[in-house]
């Protein structure tokens, strides 16, 4: 049945009935096109989401001091807890086997100047380990190192956008910038995948900051990175031991929930991944909806096509076409059109997605893409349902008696 003659017959009906061909082809092409675009956008959304939350290392605990809520060991409730350098040293000493690195973080805001240009930037006083915790990528120069910590040097590592704003494209390395009233030498420039805000920070050694602030030894936040090889269970145990240790050191009641906060990035990660899969579900749902709309569209058009052809089919039957040949020409035509149009929709959708690239980053759609497998599967589904949708009215048309079909003037 799929010989040259029947194909010629199909091509003739297709080319002589342009509106019909266009309608059914357009529905399918549009359906697939929208499916590909929506699915791609969904994936793009997921990408930017992942970027937001996967920007930092995932094997870290962040410790923040709070206020006590339970009286303990003669201390009243409502006492402010403070971390200092000894805490850091003791944690490092006690948990040496679990810890990969530690770093404090003190955050300040300063007006930073270079040759008359100035702006407000966040300042982070840190230890070398902070580079790994934030996944900071150095573009040039170096990061804060142990010598800086020991010697309390006035060296600064500045973000890409700080360099861009203050130095206007010129090289910042080796130049001196004013942070507050003090002069710092720029020893490095970094970038960060966490977005523009992350690139508007300046890093200095934490010891230098402590020296500036009347030689204090207070720390705001302690970041502890555990060795990844201790695993999830090991990390959970470590978290508990660390909390117990710190509470004991600071005379806090073991059940006090407010005195020290510990944020486990691994827990955040799990929540984020749940949100990510929710996003995936939404994307899939939207995709399915589009596909169903496409199927309904092609079904309607097939009903219309068969209705429009009733008389022609009656004539064909009167001059000797068998019912099966009637069903076959309708199916062959519809499958051919849906396949060709589906391919066009698929191709143009993928083309558009890949041409978009990063241009929609501002709308949180990063690198939109669709698996070729998913796209082809959707196209095949539409073709199959188009064929089924065509088969039902085609079979009815094939059963109509020629006289009934021909009576319809």
């Amino acid at each position: 049945m799929f010989n040259r003659d029947s194909w010629q017959e199909i091509f003739q009906t297709i080319s002589k009935n342009k509106l019909r061909t266009f309608l059914s082809g357009f529905t399918v092409a549009l359906g697939i096109f929208i499916f590909v675009i929506l699915f791609g956008f969904g994936n793009g959304l997921k990408n930017s989401f992942q970027e937001f939350f996967m920007d930092d290392a995932t094997n870290i605990f962040r410790l923040f001091p709070g206020r006590t809520t339970i009286p303990h060991n003669g201390f009243k409730t409502g006492r402010f807890i403070e971390f200092d350098n000894n805490d850091l040293a003791e944690i490092q000493k006690t948990f040496n086997y679990q810890i990969q690195y530690t770093t404090p973080r003190i955050t300040r805001n300063y007006t930073i100047k270079f040759k008359g240009k100035s702006n407000n930037y966040g300042l982070r006083a840190v230890a070398p380990g902070h580079q790994a915790a934030e996944k900071t990528i150095l573009m040039k120069g170096r990061y804060v190192n142990n010598e800086d910590i020991k010697n309390k040097t006035k060296y600064a590592v500045i973000g890409r956008l700080v360099e861009k704003d203050l130095f206007e494209g010129k090289d910042a390395l080796g130049q001196f910038i004013d942070i507050g009233k003090r002069s710092f030498k720029v020893v490095g420039v970094f970038q960060d995948d966490g977005g523009d805000n992350e690139e508007r920070y300046v890093y200095i050694p934490y010891t230098t900051n402590q020296l500036i602030e009347k030689n204090t030894d207070k720390l705001e936040q302690i970041i502890v990175a555990f060795k990844p090889e201790i695993g999830y269970g090991g990390a959970m145990n470590f978290e508990e031991e660390l909390m117990t240790f710190m509470k004991k050191r600071h005379n806090i009641h073991p059940n006090d929930q407010g005195a020290i906060y510990l944020r486990n990035v691994a827990d955040d990660l799990e929540q984020n991944q749940q949100f990510g899969s929710l996003l995936q579900m939404v994307v899939t749902f939207v995709g399915l909806g589009t596909l169903i709309a496409g199927i309904i569209g092609i079904s309607n058009i097939m009903v219309y096509v068969v209705k429009e052809r009733t008389k022609e089919l009656g004539i064909r039957k009167a001059i000797g076409a068998s019912p099966s040949s009637i069903v076959l020409i309708i199916l062959q035509e519809s499958i051919f059109i849906t396949t060709a149009a589906g391919y066009i929709g698929l191709f143009s959708g993928i083309m558009l997605l890949s041409s978009l690239g990063d241009s929609l980053d501002d709308y949180f759609i990063k690198n939109p893409y669709i698996n070729t497998g998913t796209a082809i599967f959707a196209t095949v589904i539409l073709i199959v349902f188009g064929a089924i949708a065509g088969y039902v009215p085609a079979r009815r048309a094939a059963r109509i008696k020629p006289i009934v079909a021909l009576r319809d003037e």
Binding site: Q12, A318, G320, S322, P323, S324, I403
Partner: protein, 233 residues
């Protein structure tokens, strides 16, 4: 060629059964040109539809070329129609997006005749009805008379045993009607059996035999002196 015995047919419309054919006995020999006449509602179209295997009788036997026509399913009916019968309709029923040649070749397509042979045969019949020059034209570019001649060529192309014409001149003016009847007479002269359903007396007189139907029965069946259509053209 055609042998009908005690043919009954009724239609149910709502709760009422409408008895359309009430026992038709009728036979046609090879080479005859028969007019079936009757007012509307006399059952002449129903008779033609049954003869054309477009409809099935309730009772009675139908033999076509010594071949009993019974227990037809759609596929079988399509095969027999294609093999035995050629149809000519009042409204021509050409496929409007196919050229004259393709319309004529269509029955051969369903006989699975190879393409080249199909087109040659179709061209031969187009020439026979005098429209060889119009082979590539679409039906919409042809006049009513030309369309009917294309339809006749199509009916002939499959080389059927019998031609069935349902009001072939119903949609044509009288001059064109006579031209079409002249063609039908010429085809009959070559020995083809033709049945023409008509309600026009002058068209009926151009046949060799007139069968009068009234209220589902044959009231008159007579051979007549054929009026040649060429005398009127």
């Amino acid at each position: 060629m055609i042998e009908i015995k005690d043919l009954h047919k009724s239609y149910t419309i709502g709760k009422n059964a409408l008895h359309v054919l009430k026992g038709i006995n009728f036979s046609v020999k090879e080479g005859e040109l028969v007019a079936i006449m009757g007012s509307s509602g006399s059952g002449k179209s129903t008779l033609l539809n049954i003869l054309g295997m477009l409809d099935v009788a309730d009772e009675g036997t139908y033999t076509l070329d010594n071949f009993p026509i019974k227990d037809l399913n759609e596929t079988k009916a399509a095969k027999y129609r294609n093999k035995f019968l050629g149809f000519i309709f009042q409204s021509f029923n050409l496929i409007n997006y196919k050229s004259a040649l393709e319309n004529v070749a269509l029955p051969l397509y369903y006989q699975k005749v190879p393409r080249k042979e199909r087109n040659e045969t179709a061209m031969k019949y187009l020439a026979k009805v005098g429209l060889a020059d119009w082979a590539t034209h679409l039906p919409s570019e042809l006049s009513g008379g030309q369309k009917q001649r294309i339809a006749i060529a199509r009916a002939l192309a499959a080389q059927p045993k019998v031609l069935l014409a349902d009001e072939p001149t119903g949609a044509l003016d009288s001059t064109t009607s006579y031209e079409v009847m002249q063609l039908i007479q010429e085809i009959n002269d070559e020995g083809k059996t033709i049945l023409v359903v008509t309600h026009e007396g002058d068209i009926a007189k151009m046949c060799k035999r007139i069968v009068q139907l009234k209220d589902g029965v044959i009231i008159e069946d007579k051979f007549v002196e054929q009026v040649r259509a060429s005398d009127h053209v």
